[in-house]
């Protein structure tokens, strides 16, 4: 194994100190070529810092980096790229208005005489890269026309165009559908065969086990486990990540379910591409029930929640809360009726980043503290403090901008904001997306507790394990339609097959 996978890059005794924190503590890390080196750890464990150091974005305060036995110092990202290190960040850094070829060569355009862009050469090179990545993408397509999964491939091509021998992928699958993940994994497999050393970061543990050859676990800036992937299982990873025995997802409680509190009847949303994004969807939720809505990306789940939350004026169908139809056309009207949404994209939809934690928490409930015109800041602050305590949000001060919090704590602020409106039904779109496993478990416990208090919860997820462990009932959507309905304890295979009723169509689309 050692001969087949020589160490391409190694860090010895690496330390990185930021003002106030030590992000890395004497880390020894070996990156093996022709293999997938997976890196896992909670948010803030130091994964991103370690990768930024390898990619030249940040520099070590102590310790050394060696490539093929030679000690190197990367001044910046370009310097690292010259040594064959490429990185694909979690957030795509692409330009939707430029073509695929232009995106691949942006910043290091192929030129004649240093001025004139040689589009033909770029196009040829881009086509060759697409062939290498087994993608049927025309280099002249505007990037904005591609699906997210294809865009991810373009991002990888961009790194390869600079002859990356080491490729770092930071949570590449967080926005991909199952079919797209398969494509990405095939590409990774090919690159591995070609001798590229891959570093793969993800929160999806089953993915890591499937694709990884070597695993490194980080906790609080130190490496707590590093070994070949053989024999590694989820409890081992979790134990090394959080330092205690595996935290199971909270088991479904056995409290009584109440009456039907929420019903969606025949909701349709025409799709701009023709047909329906949400196709005659009907469902219901009872008091104290957690209903999991599973499906692949693009199945229409988020769109359904948006229809419920009055985001699509051209949708049709009816919604009932406690048996009474919801006629309100505005978001605030629906919030008043007892609906609350936790959006999928926290940064874009959930929070106002530059406002304070207090202002974000009370955003939907301001009229509770208002008499006439007057907003009582005292009552507002007291309520915000109460919810910080109740949601166990870790903060230094209510008056700090919400952007200073970690992902998990930001999510708790979003949930706190929703709960402050005293909803009867909570809609959660991918509530655990992009947060670490510790915060995830806490969010799930919160969901359980809320359900026990009688709240109806409808949550959308792409994580199979999550939907099976957490739901009292599992609904499955595909192509805008309800394609399956299972009680708690359904088998994973059934749920998956309901989510992909026409596998072929999904793959060739």
């Amino acid at each position: 194994m050692t001969d087949a996978n020589p160490i391409g890059l190694s860090i010895r005794n690496g330390s990185k100190i930021y003002p106030g924190t030590q992000a890395l503590k004497n880390v020894d890390f070996d990156l093996r070529m022709g293999a997938v080196n997976v890196l896992v750890g909670e948010n803030g464990a130091g994964k991103s810092t370690l990768m930024k150091i390898i990619a030249g974005v940040e520099q070590l305060n102590g310790g050394t980096i060696e490539i093929d036995g030679q000690q190197v110092v990367f001044a910046d990202k370009t310097d690292a790229a010259k040594h064959g290190v490429g990185i694909v960040f979690q957030e795509l850094n692409l330009f939707p208005n430029l073509t695929v070829a232009e995106n691949i060569f942006v910043g290091h355009e192929k030129t004649r005489a240093g001025i004139h862009i040689d589009s033909q050469a770029q196009r040829t090179a881009a086509a060759a890269l697409m062939k290498r990545l087994e993608q049927n993408i025309d280099p002249d397509t505007p990037l904005g026309n591609l699906r997210i999964g294809q865009q991810q491939i373009v991002e990888i091509a961009k790194a390869l165009a600079e002859n990356a021998r080491i490729l770092i992928l930071d949570e590449p699958t967080s926005a991909l559908s199952a079919a797209e993940v398969e494509v990405l994994f095939r590409v990774i497999g090919d690159l591995r065969k070609q001798g590229v050393g891959i570093v793969y970061i993800s929160h999806r543990l089953e993915e890591l086990i499937r694709i990884g050859d070597y695993i490194t676990v980080l906790r609080d800036g130190a490496i707590t486990g590093s070994r070949s992937m053989q024999g590694v299982d989820i409890p081992w990873i979790v134990a090394n990540m959080i330092g205690s025995a595996s935290k199971e997802f909270p088991k479904t409680g056995d409290h009584e379910l109440g009456n039907e509190v929420f019903r969606v009847d025949n909701v349709c949303l025409p799709s701009p591409a023709g047909g329906y994004a949400v196709d005659h969807m009907s469902l219901s939720v009872r008091e104290g029930e957690i209903v999991g809505l599973y499906g692949l990306m693009g199945a229409g789940r988020s769109e359904l929640l948006e229809c419920i939350m009055a985001q699509h004026p051209n949708s049709s169908g009816q919604i009932f809360i406690g048996g009474k139809p919801v006629k309100e056309k505005s978001v605030s009207g629906r919030i008043r009726r007892g609906l609350a949404l936790i959006p999928e994209d926290r940064k874009r939809d959930g929070l106002v980043q530059i406002m304070t934690i207090r202002e974000n928490l009370t955003m939907s409930s301001l009229y509770d503290f208002t008499r006439g015109f007057h907003l009582s800041l005292k009552a507002e602050a007291a309520k915000a403090a109460e919810f910080v305590k109740r949601m166990a949000i870790k903060i230094a001060s209510l008056e700090h901008p919400v952007s200073s919090l970690s992902g998990g704590n930001q999510q708790k602020v979003v949930i706190g904001k929703a709960l402050m409106t005293r909803p009867k039904i909570l809609l959660m779109d991918e509530p655990s997306r992009g947060i670490d496993i510790g915060a995830k478990a806490e969010i799930f416990r919160t969901m359980r507790r809320l359900a026990e208090d009688g709240l109806g919860i409808l949550f959308v997820t792409s994580d199979l394990e999550e939907v099976l462990a957490l739901s009292d009932r599992v609904l499955v959507m595909a192509n805008g339609r309800l394609t399956g309905q299972f009680p708690a304890g359904a088998s994973a295979a059934e749920v998956i097959s309901a989510a992909t009723p026409n596998l072929n169509r999904v793959e060739t689309r």
Binding site: Y18, P19, G20, T21, M309, Q311, S330, V331, S332, R334, I335, L341, P343, R348, D349, G350, L351, V352, Q353, I354, M355, E359, M363, S364, L366, Y367, T370, F373, H374, L375, L377, V388, K394, I395, A396, S397, H400, P401, S404, L405, K417, T421
Partner: protein, 360 residues
């Protein structure tokens, strides 16, 4: 990672360094105010007669006009927009005021040979409604027709200025003394009257500023303005009525412009259709100088008022020192740029302090 008591801990842990940073931060936070004191002190020493009561009153009258416009502008910018039309609204409103004082409304167009005359209060109300209405048009263009604020208000800038010129065929309405018979002879009080020794226009500024500050900090609507400018989608999904909020800020800006139009026509006892040209730029400058972020979501009324005073004192002080108006313009530009650069430094420093507190 400790929780709520962390800010207290942080102070003791990092000690001296920390307190120096926070002192610097406080200084930066108060920078516009510091700049005001410096500018004031400078002219008090360098320009003779600067510190006289008469001069102070003149400066405050000048500042009041820009400050009132800048207050409206501040809300618009906080909400993520821009209002280029305020200068033209000032001009149009001044013409409407002048016309009403001179002629009233002639009912000839409905076939009645009679013209309705108005008293001062009625004239003021009509002019304010005109200003609010133009602001409403701005708001409707931006919210319902999805026109970019820059373009919508640029268009209205031309439309309103052209309308002002059409009103009088480009002529000035002179001698707005009003008529005691109609109760409009009190019109001059708005611009030239005093109350407790201060010009009425300064009182108007004080009232508008206090009202706006209250609105910004102590009402849901004020909070919504910040939220819309900070993250429009996030605000909408939190139940904020984004369109109504935007509509309000443009109408409020129109109201502020109408007030300035009234004050100027009353002060000059005449209405000229070119009144208020480029006023919008001074208003934006005052808002930015006062710490309003052009990307929306951040700004304070008090900052804007201080910003307007810095600009006003700088302008009048330089004139008193006999500095050429060409240099005045250059200096004003440099001050605005310096203000924004310092603002960037403060933002960075503040973010670092917060991160440190959270890390501890």
């Amino acid at each position: 990672m400790s929780s709520i008591d962390a800010s207290g801990n942080a102070k003791t842990v990092i000690g001296g360094h920390k307190s120096r940073t926070s002192a610097l931060l406080l200084l930066l936070h108060m920078r516009t105010f510091v700049a005001l004191i410096l500018v004031f002190a400078f002219f008090a020493i360098a320009a003779p007669n600067f510190l006289t009561t008469g001069n102070m009153l003149i400066i405050s009258k000048h500042v009041a006009l820009n400050a009132i416009l800048a207050i409206g502008m501040t809300f618009v910018i906080i909400a993520g927009g821009i209002d280029l039309s305020v200068g033209s609204i000032v001009g149009l409103c001044a013409m409407v005021a002048g016309y009403l004082v001179l002629y009233g409304i002639d009912l000839g167009f409905v076939g009645v040979a009679y013209s309705v005359q108005f008293n001062t209060i009625e004239i003021c109300l009509i002019v304010l409604v005109v200003g609010i209405f133009i602001g409403w048009i701005n708001g409707m263009l931006i919210t319902k027709l999805n026109v970019a604020p820059f373009i919508a208000t640029l268009g209205i800038l031309y439309v309103a200025r052209g309308s002002a010129l059409l009103f009088s065929d480009g002529r000035t309405f002179p001698n707005l003394a009003g008529n005691p018979e109609y109760g409009s002879d009190t019109f001059r009080i708005i611009g030239s009257g005093t109350f407790f020794g201060l010009p009425v226009s300064v009182w108007i500024m004080v009232v508008v500023a206090l009202g706006a500050a209250y609105l910004a900090t102590r009402t849901p609507l004020g909070r919504h303005i910040y939220a819309v400018g900070g993250n429009e989608r996030g605000a909408a999904l939190s139940g904020v009525n984004v369109d109504r909020t935007k509509l309000f800020v443009y109408m409020f800006s129109g109201l502020c412009a109408a007030l300035v139009g009234l004050i100027i026509s009353s002060q000059l006892q005449a209405s000229h259709p070119a009144t208020g040209e480029t006023f919008e730029l001074n208003a934006i400058a005052a808002a930015v100088l006062g710490g309003t972020s052009m990307s929306g979501g951040r700004g304070r009324i008090a900052g804007t008022i201080v910003g307007a005073f810095v600009i006003g004192i700088l302008a009048d002080g330089l004139i008193m020192m006999g500095v050429s108006s060409f240099w005045q313009t250059v200096i004003k530009g440099l001050v605005i740029i310096a203000a924004v650069v310092v603002d960037q430094v403060q933002q960075k420093l503040q973010a670092r302090v917060v991160l440190q507190q959270n890390a501890n």
